[in-house]
Amino acid sequence: MAGRGGAQRPNGATQGKICQFKLVLLGESAVGKSSLVLRFVKGQFHEYQESTIGAAFLTQTVCLDDTTVKFEIWDTAGQERYHSLAPMYYRGAQAAIVVYDITNQDTFGRAKTWVKELQRQASPNIVIALAGNKADLSNKRMVEYEEAQAYAEENSLLFMETSAKTAMNVNDIFLAIAKKLPKNEGGQSGQQRPPGLRLNNEQNQQSEGGCCK
């Protein structure tokens, strides 16, 4: 189970326990989900990120004060057509980032739909973060920060405006989620977490950016 353990990372960055969480990214197509993940995991940004078909799986580790949080990130396809596949991915997830494009009002609406669906159908204690991506394009802003923040507060969501391009708030939003996630075992709170997702002490070398970047 995730959240269990206490083994040390080989690099000795932290002495605390290692928690493993499943995180899913949802949102309208082309709002920058994959870009956010790519920025967070690899520190890269492609202007034209290949559109995601189905879903993509990546992992990244975040260092908190005394805890190492390992994210298993499922980056889903945004097109409505893939909506039917979404439950496969958000089932058992402890955290979700619902992404919208601040330059596209529709994507914000779509984000709200996702939030509602998650609140209804995902794990009861799922930590949902709302990310207003493409914050670098604030001149084309269509969704006001206040509006989104109000909505987030209303639904008790974490909220940040991010930019995968400039890396603004990208790590922050993941860290905020990591902090908000319950680190004890009770954090699972009855979710049917697939037992196959077990803790591994090996450090995830996949991430070039490393943690705390």
Binding site: G54, A55, F57, Q79, S84, G109
Partner: protein
Amino acid sequence: MAAEGGGSKVDSVFYVNNKTDENSSPESMANGAEAVVFRHSGDGSAESSTTETMAADQSGNADPEENETKLCGWLLKCGSIGFMKTAKNLWFVFGEDTCKLYFYRQPQDLLPLGEIDIKHASFSFDANSSRPGVFEIRSEGKVYYLDAQGQHRMTYWLEELQKKRRQYSQQRKTISSEKINWTLKNHRKGSGLTGQGKGLAGISESAGAGGSSHMGQGEGVSGLPPNTKPMYWSLRNLRTEIREAVSGIRNQKSPTKSSPPPSPQLSEGKEGWTLLDEEQDSSQQPSGSAQSATPNSSSAMSQSAAPNPASKLGNKLKFSLFNKNSKRSHSDSGSPTEQPRRHTHSSGSGRSGSQQCFKCKLYNMFRTYMSHQLQDDLWSVREDLKAAEEELQANREIIKLLQKELDVVRVTMETRKESEGKTEQEVDFMLQQRDKHVVELEHSLAVLQEDKSLLEQQCSQNEGEMATLKDQVSMLQDMLTVKDEIVMQLTNQIFELENNNTQDKGDNAGQAAEPSAPRPSLLIPDTRELEELKDSVRAYQLQNKFMTKEIMELNELRKLDEKREKELLINYANLEAMFYQTKSGEENKSQDAVAQLLQEALETEAGEGAGDQDAHQTFLSSHSMEYDRYGFQAYLHTEEETEDILVAKANQLQRQSDELANRLQSGKPLQRSPELKTLIRLGVPHEYKEHVWKGCVNFYVGQTRDKLGPQYYKKDLGEKIKQSKFNPAAKQIELDLLRTLPSNRHFDSMESDGIPKLRRVLLAYSLHNPVIGYCQGLNRLAAISLLFLSEEDAFWCLEAVVEHIMPKDYYTKTLAAAQADQRVLKELVAEKLPKLHAHFEQYEVDLSLYTFNWFLTIFVDNVRPETFLRCWDALLYEGSKVLFRFALAFLKYAEDEILTLKEAPHIYRYMRMLGEKVTNVKRITQIAFHDLNPFPMRSITSKRLHHLQLVREELRELDIIRQDFQTSHTRNNREGYISDDDLDDTRDDEDGDS
């Protein structure tokens, strides 16, 4: 009295190692508990009369000092419980007179620590004891454990104790008779001077002392030095001397009476002994010693001699003797050792005897004479008395007789007087009465006689009966004897049989266990039968052994056969697999395909131009065929000839290939053929890709295309695109244009040549097939098509793939068919790669999360172009089954690596990289088209149908939930606004339901 014994005792005691002990181990010598020691009492006295006898026997021949021994020595006395620990080393001395074993802490001790009565004791020892010297004495209800520390010593002790006990008991029985013997011996020997002298000396001494014996003893006690030896010894000495004195007196008798009458002799002996015992008692009592004074013997003696006329004389004698003794002991007190004292004593006594004691002698003689006289008188008086008594008795009897006669006479006299006094009548009456009485008597007599005869008869009868009974008894006895004999015989037989049985059993036990046959009762046939049975048993055993061996061998043979059968089965399976592979009609290797083509070419050539048989044969011979198809033996060419022929053939093939290529390029429609299939599976070369793909696409869409006319794409759809101001898919298409193949130079920017084409194709298709519209993934298909085909052909290719090659509903809103295909794939994995399937199951990895992308994009998703293009080639020609072939091939290709991963995230990560890791296209195609065979389309179709239904049901449920949610959501938040996706939804739903 103990004073004179005091100093001498120590010296007189010397240790004599036992003979057996000397011969035993030196260790026992070194041992502190020094063996059995004999103490020689200097005065030669021995307590018991038996030892005394012995001493007396030897006195004439040897020095008595050396022969008179005392049983004493060191022994370990052990407690009865835990005696190993409480053992004490004590000095044991056997008291001859009391027949008791006394033990002291030290040999010098006055008082013993205790005593053991040997009289009634029993001895025993444990033969197996760890300590060989331990023996036990049971006496008076107590058990004493003594350790002689050595077996020899122990046996010596036991033997000696037994001897003492025996002697004592004998002594008690025969004491008086022995006494007689002893005196008689002395008489016969007449040895005497010393003895006589001694006795005289003793008497003279007593006479000389004059005083009372008690006084003398008192003196002895008073004169006792303070640190002298035990009184016990002194007392013994005293007693010994008394005895000597007595013996002296007795010896002295012999000359006076040469032949004394037997009865007086006996009485005299008794008296003498009585006197002695009395003396002992009297002497011991004042000394106050704790020693027992043999009360049994003394009392017995005194009793036997109790009412005696000479008792007074005896008393007198006793006193005198006592006086003498006390005197003697007093005089001996000064002597340093006992031995010298003895000498002096004996010599002294001899001298005094010759000089002084005539008076005594006379007195003594007179005394004895007087006693004899008196006894004789007594005897005669007794006889007279007896005679008188007899006379008296006779007289009395006479008187009795006379009195009886007198009585009879008196009675007759009275009757006469009565008869005289009575009348005749009375007499008559009386007579009558008497007659009557007589008659009665006679009658009764007769009756009695009858009775008697009857009784006699009865008696005779009884006798007869008795005789018969006797006969019967005898008969029965005979029978009994006979029966006894029979019993004896039978027992003998039984014994023999038993013997036989035991022997047989022994035999049987030696052999293997076989149920023993019941034994017949007769002996001789029994043995014979037994032998036979034994033989048969042996035979059976042999048979049994053989059979077991046989069974083992048969088992082995069976095992071998089974093994062979298994091998054959495996072979059969392999052959079957091969058969199916070959049956599916595909040649394994390119070589085969080429060979086939070559052969075909040659055959056609052979048909066209004659006289090319040589070449044909050469070709065949190159395949190492010995005979050609016509039955001719293979022609063997020289190398040069072969080369020439091969070169010629190559040229010819080149020509043919050019022709084929020309035919393709000339736009002739592609025709399905196994060769083409094989060739396509091997990968279509880049230059022919357009032609082959175009041809393949035409298989599917040729008719539609013809129907819609050549202007359909360019004109009709172009206009549609221009006209349609509101295309719900356009926005998404536009978003995806640059995200389709961002790494491909034809699609990496808005200025790239592929982008407008792609936009047009996708837009055209979304209008051409509004049910699907635009689905992410189609952009990739279109883009790949555009790489090799013209815009229009790409469009048709997309149409072919979406509408014809892929199952229905693959790209519709729910992607139901695509989802169903993932489940089919899962089943196939379970079938073809069971290990991997189990691995995925174990780590709960959902394979479909990855394979889904492969299927939707025909592997244009993190897969190398060479790989997915090979798949495209085959897919365009063969159909969607190729998707499963390649997916499984990918998994099989990476199976071993995946199996090493033990965590779901690792497996997912690996799966994401899998497409890029597959580099060996040849291997993948090999796996996809050969290793996975058989791969029947029918089963896949049925599976697809099955899973599609399931997926649809699930999706319907999900849709219902979502619909509710959506409607409420729209009503609340998005009033009046309808997104393109929403429109899509409605359309798709309609489509899905239809």
